[in-house]
């Protein structure tokens, strides 16, 4: 009775060896990339353990003593941490409110354009800011918006108004940060919507015309509902990334006068970890952010499954 079992296992292992022999060339291609992932992606993931250790460069990660959650207790007593967390969430929320609708409006307007060359040209110009690095955008912002020498304030002053401290007053700084975000992302963001717009059934427009609907009504009752699923998916994905914030944009645009509103988690981790070399604390802050980010992402996925019967990945 035990006889059938043996040939099966032997057969299976022989088959595995055979597939290894047959596909050795495929496996050989995978070797370097997999080593890459293990070292450069999983290495740092393992490195996160220093958040639970009293990390000492000379002892290394493994030999440093465990301290449990002590580091997190310390982090939760840091005012700077709460400030960075608040700013991250607040700037992301405002960014979502202001930057999210712009590509939708732009895409609907672009879609209404009938003159081909004008549409093509406008798209080319509108996509351009996406390819300019934040360093260059930051440099341009400083030149254009400087209170004394910037062109924008020169124009404002020539109109007889007071110069606006775009980059040096917290409230104005937030506005500037958001405005530059729109400038950089609105055009490029239209691409997905424009693709969704091509999928709308032409017959719907004709039927609406027969019923006497004008342009605006067609935009409102056909175009907008046509891209509604895309809008919802992108909105959910954006909410999922609420706790994450890039480094370049806040880092380049901020200055010592506005740290109170411009210091976000990423720049704070840089300040604590790299500039002050407090690796354990900075790693713990980064890990905390990753956990919060994961909660947001999983919630977004859950909502997406409820709304669309489809996860976000």
């Amino acid at each position: 009775m035990a006889i059938p079992a043996r040939p099966r296992t032997r057969g299976a292992s022989r088959w595995q060896v055979k597939s290894l022999v047959r596909d050795w060339q495929l496996y050989s291609l995978l070797v370097l990339p997999m080593i890459y992932f293990l070292i450069f992606k999983y290495g740092p993931m393992f490195g996160v353990v220093i958040a639970f250790k009293d990390y000492n460069i000379f002892q290394g990660i493994l030999a440093s003593p465990w301290v449990g959650f002590d580091t997190f207790r310390e982090v939760f007593q840091m005012d700077g941490f709460y400030r960075a967390l608040r700013n991250t969430m607040l700037l992301n929320l405002l960014d979502l409110l202001i930057s999210f609708p712009m590509p939708i409006i732009l895409a609907i307007l672009l879609n209404e354009l009938r003159v081909k060359w004008f549409k093509k040209g406008a798209q080319m110009v509108l996509y351009l800011p996406h390819f300019i690095s934040w360093i260059i955008i930051g440099g341009m912002a400083i030149q254009l918006l400087a209170t004394n020498t910037g062109i924008v304030n020169n124009v404002i002053k020539s109109l007889g108004l007071q110069a606006v401290p775009f980059l040096t007053e917290p409230l104005y700084w937030v506005t500037t940060y958001l405005g530059i975000g729109v400038w950089q992302s609105a055009g490029w963001g239209t691409i997905i919507y424009l693709a969704a717009l091509t999928g709308i059934n032409r017959d719907l427009y004709e039927a609406a015309e027969v019923d006497g609907a004008n342009r605006l009504r067609k935009m409102w009752h056909i175009t907008l509902p046509g891209i509604k699923p895309t809008i919802i998916i992108l909105l959910i994905i954006n909410i999922g990334h609420m706790a994450n914030i890039g480094f370049d944009r806040p880092f380049v645009l901020s200055n010592p006068l506005v740290t109170n509103v411009s210091e976000v988690i990423s720049t704070y981790v840089y300040k604590i970890g790299i500039q002050s070399a407090r690796y354990t604390i900075a790693t713990a802050i980064g890990l905390f952010q990753a956990v919060v980010g994961l909660i947001f992402l999983l919630s977004a996925d859950y909502i997406s499954r409820k709304v669309n019967d489809q996860g976000i990945w």
Partner: protein, 296 residues
């Protein structure tokens, strides 16, 4: 005839005002995108007195190329440009090679362990060690202050890998099978069948890797302290954002450009390569975005 065509494509042609309003709005948005760059361009080639008087808006006044001469004569800027070109070239070649090497085997459904490999890759799209563990890894590998610190950690983008894999999968499997029956090795199939059929997507993703590396800044800020190895973005940050632009003027005795035009010229210096290739390659960027969107 022409009228009829017009009538079908614009059934409610009587509502012209809407068209005009839309064209005005789009034109305004496009101008808003261009004007900052035009102003910087104007600043970079205007005369000192016009700049100081705040007269320069969108067109240069008293055209003067001293600022450009200073920037192009600055060894640090030139060295950063050369280093960045070298960096972007090596990075793009290595990244594309590694990405293709990973993507091709993973298109084979019969490959044992394929799901495990895919899982290992996809996980990295959602979890990362974060800034400090990555920094410590680079330091422990003794890569700080070397070009490899800017190449290896970001060599494979898991998202691009999945895009290429999706594209490879769309190639008719019969083509590969007939080559295999003719005795071609897997390597041979990849080189002679799969890659030639994938040139558009390979071009697009090379471009994505290259632009990402050209614009990349944070890793250089973290990993590079040797000023000889500053990529252009980091150099520009020092010059323009940190206002060390005056260091360029050291040793210049003749008529020196004002900081404004010097900064503007530095910005143009670093942007020009992107501006030069962008119009010709824009459709590749868009097509890449579309593949990504369909996949995501």
């Amino acid at each position: 005839m022409a009228n009829q065509e017009n009538a079908t494509s614009r059934p409610d042609g009587r509502n012209r005002t809407v068209d005009v309003v839309i064209i005005i709005v789009i034109t305004a948005a496009s101008l808003l995108c261009l004007m900052p760059m035009l102003h910087i361009l104007a600043l970079s080639m205007s005369g000192n007195s016009a700049i100081m008087a705040g007269k320069v808006t969108l067109l240069p006044i008293d055209i003067d190329f001293t600022a450009y001469r200073t920037v192009f004569g600055n060894m640090q800027m030139i060295r950063s440009l050369g280093f960045t070109i070298l960096l972007v070239s090596i990075f793009t070649v290595i990244s594309m090679t590694m990405t293709i090497m990973a993507a091709y085997p993973l298109t084979k459904r019969h490959l044992k362990g394929r799901d495990v490999f895919l899982f290992i890759i996809v996980i990295t799209m959602f979890f990362s060690g974060g800034m400090i563990p990555e920094y410590l890894l680079v330091r422990n590998l003794h890569l700080l202050d070397s070009i490899w610190a800017l190449i290896l950690p970001g060599a494979i983008n898991a998202f691009y890998l999945l895009i290429i894999k999706t594209f490879f999968t769309s190639i008719p499997v019969e083509l590969e099978e007939s080559a295999r029956i003719d005795g071609a090795s897997q390597y041979r199939v990849l080189f002679s069948v799969v890659l030639p059929l994938s040139l558009p997507v390979l071009a697009t993703l090379s471009l994505f890797y290259a632009v990402g590396r050209w614009n990349g800044f944070m890793d250089a800020l973290l990993y590079i302290t040797n000023s000889n190895l500053y990529p252009l973005q980091l150099r520009l940050y020092e010059m323009v954002v940190n206002s060390q632009v005056n260091s360029m003027l050291e040793g210049l005795s003749s008529v020196a450009p004002v900081p404004e035009s010097l900064k503007a010229a530095s910005i143009m210096f670093a942007t020009l390569p992107i501006l030069l290739v962008y119009p010709w390659l824009q459709r590749y960027f868009v097509s890449g975005m579309m593949i990504g969107a369909v996949k995501g």
